[in-house]
C-alpha cells in the first residue's frame, strides 16, 4: 500500500495540465503557461492525457459551478480519467498557489476527493430543476428541442431560469452529469472509466433530438447562435451553453440529421462533395477547448472527410469586466492616462509573439512555437530591448527563410487587402494582403519593431491607436471583422489548413467579451 501511494505520488508529481480558457482571461492564461514552464509540467491538448484541469475565468467563477457558462469546462472535467483534480484560477497573481493546490489534491489521491466533487456538481444541478426531469427522457428532450427549433429566432427572450430548456448545450452537458452521477454511485472506483462515457452521453441526448427533429433544430440552433454573435453585450450564461458539448470538438457526429441513430449517436448525413460525389458529412463544433485555439471561439463546421464544407463562427460569450489584455495600453491611453510608447510596443510585440506561437504550434513546428513563446514570456517579464532582439533575430530569420514553411503555407487562406477592407479588417491581416504566410511575415516584422521600441519612454500617440488585432477605437472590435472573415476563408479548406487559417488570423475574443459595467450584472 505504501509502495502504491509512493508510486502514485511520483507519477503525478508533474501532472499533465489542461487549460479551460474563457475569453477575457488572457492575462491568467499567460501567467499559467509561464508557471507551467517553470515547473516543467506538460501542457496537454486533450482531456485523455490530462491530470489537472485549470479553469481560467476568475470573475465569473463564483457562480460558474452552477452556471451553464462553464458547462463545457464541466464536460471537460468529466472526460478526464482519474486520478484528476481541478482548480480555478481567478487571478494571475495566484497561479502558483492554485497549481500547488491542484498538485496536493492529486497527491492525496482521488478516493476522498471524488465524492465531494460529485456532490458539488450534483447540488448545482438541483438548482435547475428541469434537468432532473429529463435525466433519461430523450423524448422530453426532443420536445424541448423541437420547440427550440421552431422558435429558433426568439433567441434569448427567455429569462435565465428557463432558457436552459431551449438551449441544446446545457441540456447535453447536464444530462451527461446526471448519468454520470448515477453510475458513479454504483461503482465508486471507476470514475475514469465512466468519465469518457460522460462526455459523450451529452451527445447521446443531443443526437436523440437531432434524429427526431431533423433540420429544424439545426436551423434553430444556427439562428440562435446568430443572435449570440459577439458584440451583443447581453450574452447571458445561456449562450455558453452552446459550448457544452463542444469539448475539444472530439466526439463528433452528434449533429447528424435524418440518418437515424446508432447507439444513441447520430449517423453522418450525406451531401455532395466538391467533385459531386455524395459522401458522409459530419456536423462538428470546434472549440472552445481546443489547444492553441483562440479562447472562446466556436466554429460550427460541416466536415466531409476532413474537408470543411460549411462554417459558422460564434463566440462563447462569458462577459468579462476587464479590458482585453492585448489592447490594454491603447485603451488606457484613450481614456486619458499617460502610457509610454514603449509599454504599448512591448504589449504589441508580446501579442504577436503569442499569435506566432500558436501559428507555429498549429503548423506543427513545435520547436519554433516553443521558442516564440519563450521570447513572449521574456517580453512580458520585462526583458530589455537588447535581450529581446538577441532572442528574436535568429527566430525571425529562420521563419522567414524556411522554404518548407513557405511550401506548406503558400496559398492557404488568401485575403486580399480589398476584401479585408470590405470586411472591416484593420490590423495585420489588412497589411499582409495575402495568404497565411504573408500574415505571418507581417507579424514577424511587427514583433521585431515592437521589441526594438519597447524601452521607449515617450508618451503613446493617441492619434493612431492600432492594437495587435487592428484599430482599438473602431466602431466594432477589430476581432469581429476577423471573425467575419473566417467562414469565407475556411470553406473548402482541409481540417489542418483550416486550423492554420484560424491561427493566422487569431481573433482575440477578449475584445468581444469585454462588456463595460452595464453588462456585468447580467453575465
Amino acid at each position: 500500500m505504501e509502495l502504491r501511494r509512493r508510486l502514485l505520488r511520483t507519477a503525478v508529481s508533474r501532472p499533465g495540465v489542461l487549460l479551460a480558457v474563457s475569453p477575457g482571461t488572457t492575462r491568467e492564461r499567460l501567467a499559467v503557461e509561464a508557471e507551467l514552464v517553470r515547473r516543467g509540467w506538460p501542457c496537454v491538448s486533450a482531456p485523455a492525457e490530462a491530470d489537472l484541469l485549470v479553469v481560467l475565468g476568475g470573475h465569473h467563477a463564483e457562480e460558474s459551478d452552477g452556471d451553464a457558462g462553464s458547462d463545457w469546462a464541466a464536460n471537460l472535467w468529466h472526460a478526464i480519467p482519474a486520478p484528476k483534480a481541478r482548480v480555478p484560477v481567478r487571478d494571475a497573481g495566484q497561479v502558483a498557489e492554485a497549481l500547488d493546490r491542484g498538485l496536493a489534491e492529486l497527491r492525496r489521491g482521488e478516493p476522498p476527493q471524488e465524492p465531494h466533487q460529485e456532490d458539488d456538481a450534483h447540488s448545482h444541478r438541483g438548482e435547475h430543476g428541469e434537468h432532473g426531469d429529463h435525466q433519461h427522457g430523450d423524448h422530453g428532450q426532443h420536445e424541448q428541442h423541437g420547440d427550440h427549433g421552431d422558435h429558433g429566432d426568439h433567441g434569448h427572450n427567455d429569462n435565465s431560469a428557463t432558457h436552459e430548456g431551449h438551449e441544446p448545450g446545457p441540456h447535453e452537458g447536464h444530462n451527461g452529469h446526471v448519468d454520470h452521477d448515477g453510475e458513479d454511485r454504483g461503482h465508486e472506483g471507476h470514475n475514469g472509466g465512466h468519465s469518457g462515457d460522460d462526455a459523450n452521453s451529452g451527445h447521446d441526448v443531443h443526437s436523440g433530438d437531432d434524429g427526431h427533429s431533423g433540420h429544424h433544430m439545426h436551423n434553430g440552433d444556427d439562428t440562435h447562435s446568430g443572435h449570440h454573435m459577439p458584440g451583443n453585450g447581453d450574452t447571458h450564461g445561456g449562450h455558453d451553453g452552446h459550448a457544452g458539448h463542444d469539448m475539444h470538438g472530439a466526439h463528433g457526429g452528434h449533429a447528424g440529421h435524418d440518418m437515424g441513430v446508432v447507439a444513441g449517436l447520430p449517423m453522418a448525413d450525406r451531401a455532395d462533395d466538391r467533385d459531386g460525389l455524395r459522401l458522409d458529412r459530419l456536423h462538428v463544433p470546434l472549440g472552445p477547448a481546443l489547444a492553441d485555439w483562440p479562447a472562446g471561439l466556436i466554429l460550427r463546421v460541416a466536415l466531409q472527410g476532413d474537408i470543411v464544407q460549411q462554417v459558422s463562427a460564434e463566440a462563447e460569450g462569458s462577459a468579462s469586466p476587464y479590458p482585453p489584455f492585448w489592447d490594454e495600453p491603447w485603451l488606457r491611453a484613450l481614456s486619458g492616462e499617460r502610457v509610454s510608447h514603449g509599454e504599448a510596443a512591448r504589449r504589441l510585440c508580446a501579442a504577436h509573439l503569442d499569435s506566432l506561437g500558436r501559428f507555429f504550434a498549429v503548423t506543427g513546428w513545435t520547436d519554433m512555437a516553443a521558442r516564440f513563446r519563450h521570447v513572449r514570456d521574456r517580453a512580458l517579464a520585462g526583458a530589455d530591448a537588447a535581450e529581446l532582439r538577441g532572442l528574436l533575430r535568429p527566430l525571425i530569420r529562420r521563419a522567414e527563410r524556411s522554404r518548407t514553411l513557405r511550401w506548406l503555407t503558400a496559398g492557404l487562406g488568401p485575403l486580399t487587402a480589398e476584401h479585408a477592407r470590405h470586411l472591416g479588417v484593420t490590423g495585420p491581416a489588412l497589411v499582409a494582403d495575402g495568404d497565411v504566410h504573408a500574415r505571418m511575415r507581417v507579424w514577424l516584422g511587427a514583433a521585431w519593431r515592437g521589441a526594438d521600441e519597447c524601452d521607449d519612454t515617450e508618451a503613446l500617440d493617441t492619434a493612431q491607436v492600432i492594437g495587435p488585432r487592428g484599430r482599438v477605437d473602431g466602431p466594432v472590435p477589430a476581432s469581429l471583422a476577423l471573425l467575419d472573415a473566417l467562414p469565407g476563408l475556411l470553406e473548402g479548406a482541409e481540417f489542418a489548413g483550416a486550423r492554420i487559417i484560424v491561427a493566422s488570423l487569431d481573433p482575440d475574443l477578449d475584445e468581444l467579451a469585454h462588456v463595460p459595467a452595464v453588462g456585468m450584472a447580467h453575465g
Binding site: 516543467g40 485523455a48 482519474a82 506543427g364 519554433m368 516553443a370 482541409e494 481540417f495
Partner: protein
C-alpha cells in the same frame, strides 16, 4: 555474414529497444524543454528534463483507461497494442553487429511487412473511439501511407538490389567496402524520410498532430496511450536502426567491435532525425502526397534503375 543469435537474444531485444527509445526520447525532451524555457542551467536540471519521458510513462500508467460513447473498445485496444508489437517483430531481423535474432532469407520483406502493420494499428486506434478528431488522425495516416510507402519500398528494394539478396546479413556484407548510402544517396534520403513518416513522427506527425488534439491518440489514456505512443517511439527507433544495415554498412568499421558500430551509427541517425524535427514544420498530407508521387517515386525508380545497371555490369 550474419549469424543467428542464441535464444536469450529474444528477451534482450525488447529491453534494448526500450532503452534506446527512452534515451532518444530523453534527448528529445531536453531539447524541447530547452526551446521553451531556455537552456538548462545545470547538468542536474538537464538530467531532470531527460527523465521526462520516463516520468510521463509512469504518469500515464496510473491513469485509468477511459471509453467514449459507442466506441469499439476492442479495435482501439488492438490498434494501440499492435504498434509496439509491429515494431518488435520488425526488429527481429535487425543485426546488432553481425548477429540478429533471426536472419531470415527474406528479411527485408519481413521488415516491410511488419512495419506496414502500423497502417492497421493507427487506423484502428483512430477509428475505435468513435470520435471525430481521432478519426481524422486515422484518415491522415492512411493518406500518409499512400504517400510514403511506395518510395519507401522502392528505396529498400534498391538496397536489396545492390546486394542481390533479400537477406539482411548479405546486404550488410555487400557493404564491406563501400556503404550503400554513398552510392545510392537518393534511396538513403528517401528511406530516412519514410522512417519518420512510418513512425508518424517529426515532420510527419499529422496523424497524431496537436492540431487535432493528438489525432489517433486523442482518446487513448492510461496503458493504451503508453502502448500507442511508446510503440511509436519504438517504431522510430527500429526504422532508424534498420537504415544502418541497409545503407550505413551495418557493423563494419575500423577498430571498434561490430555491435558498437551498430549502436553508434543508430545513435547518429536518431540524433539526426531529432535535429531535423526541430528544423521543419509538419508536412501536411495533401502536400506530401504530391511530393511523394511527383518527386520521390520517380526519383526512387531512377535510383533503382541506376543501381540495377551497375549491378548488371559488375
Amino acid at each position: 555474414m550474419a549469424d543467428s543469435a542464441p535464444l536469450w537474444a529474444v528477451f534482450v531485444l525488447p529491453v534494448l529497444l526500450l532503452v534506446v527509445a527512452l534515451v532518444t526520447a530523453g534527448f528529445d525532451a531536453v531539447l524541447t524543454a530547452g526551446a521553451r524555457g531556455g537552456r538548462a542551467g545545470s547538468v542536474r536540471e538537464a538530467a531532470v528534463r531527460a527523465a521526462d519521458p520516463a516520468r510521463e510513462v509512469l504518469r500515464q500508467l496510473v491513469q485509468q483507461p477511459r471509453r467514449t460513447r459507442a466506441s469499439d473498445v476492442a479495435l482501439a485496444r488492438i490498434g494501440a497494442a499492435l504498434l509496439p508489437v509491429a515494431a518488435m517483430l520488425a526488429a527481429v531481423v535487425l543485426p546488432l553487429g553481425f548477429r540478429s535474432v533471426s536472419d531470415l532469407p527474406e528479411g527485408i520483406v519481413w521488415f516491410n511487412a511488419m512495419e506496414a502493420l502500423a497502417w492497421a494499428a493507427v487506423w484502428l486506434a483512430g477509428w475505435g473511439p468513435n470520435s471525430t478528431l481521432s478519426l481524422i488522425g486515422g484518415y491522415r495516416f492512411l493518406a500518409q501511407g499512400l504517400a510514403y510507402e511506395l518510395p519507401h519500398m522502392l528505396a529498400i528494394t534498391t538496397a536489396a538490389l545492390g546486394a542481390e539478396s533479400l537477406r539482411v546479413g548479405q546486404v550488410v556484407d555487400a557493404q564491406d567496402g563501400l556503404w550503400f548510402a554513398l552510392w545510392m544517396p537518393a534511396a538513403f534520403g528517401i528511406y530516412l524520410l519514410s522512417a519518420m513518416a512510418m513512425a508518424f513522427w517529426g515532420p510527419f506527425d499529422q496523424p497524431a498532430g496537436r492540431d487535432v488534439a493528438g489525432g489517433a491518440a486523442a482518446e487513448l489514456s492510461g496503458a493504451d496511450r503508453v502502448l500507442f505512443l511508446g510503440g511509436r517511439w519504438l517504431l522510430l527507433v527500429v526504422a532508424a536502426a534498420f537504415s544502418v544495415p541497409l545503407f550505413l554498412g551495418g557493423g563494419y568499421g575500423p577498430w571498434l567491435p561490430g555491435w558498437l558500430w551498430t549502436v553508434l551509427k543508430t545513435g547518429a541517425v536518431l540524433a539526426f532525425l531529432v535535429w531535423v524535427r526541430r528544423r521543419v514544420p509538419t508536412v501536411r498530407m495533401e502536400r506530401y502526397v504530391e511530393l511523394g508521387w511527383v518527386v520521390l517515386t520517380p526519383l526512387a525508380i531512377v535510383q533503382a534503375l541506376v543501381v540495377a545497371v551497375v549491378v548488371l555490369n559488375r
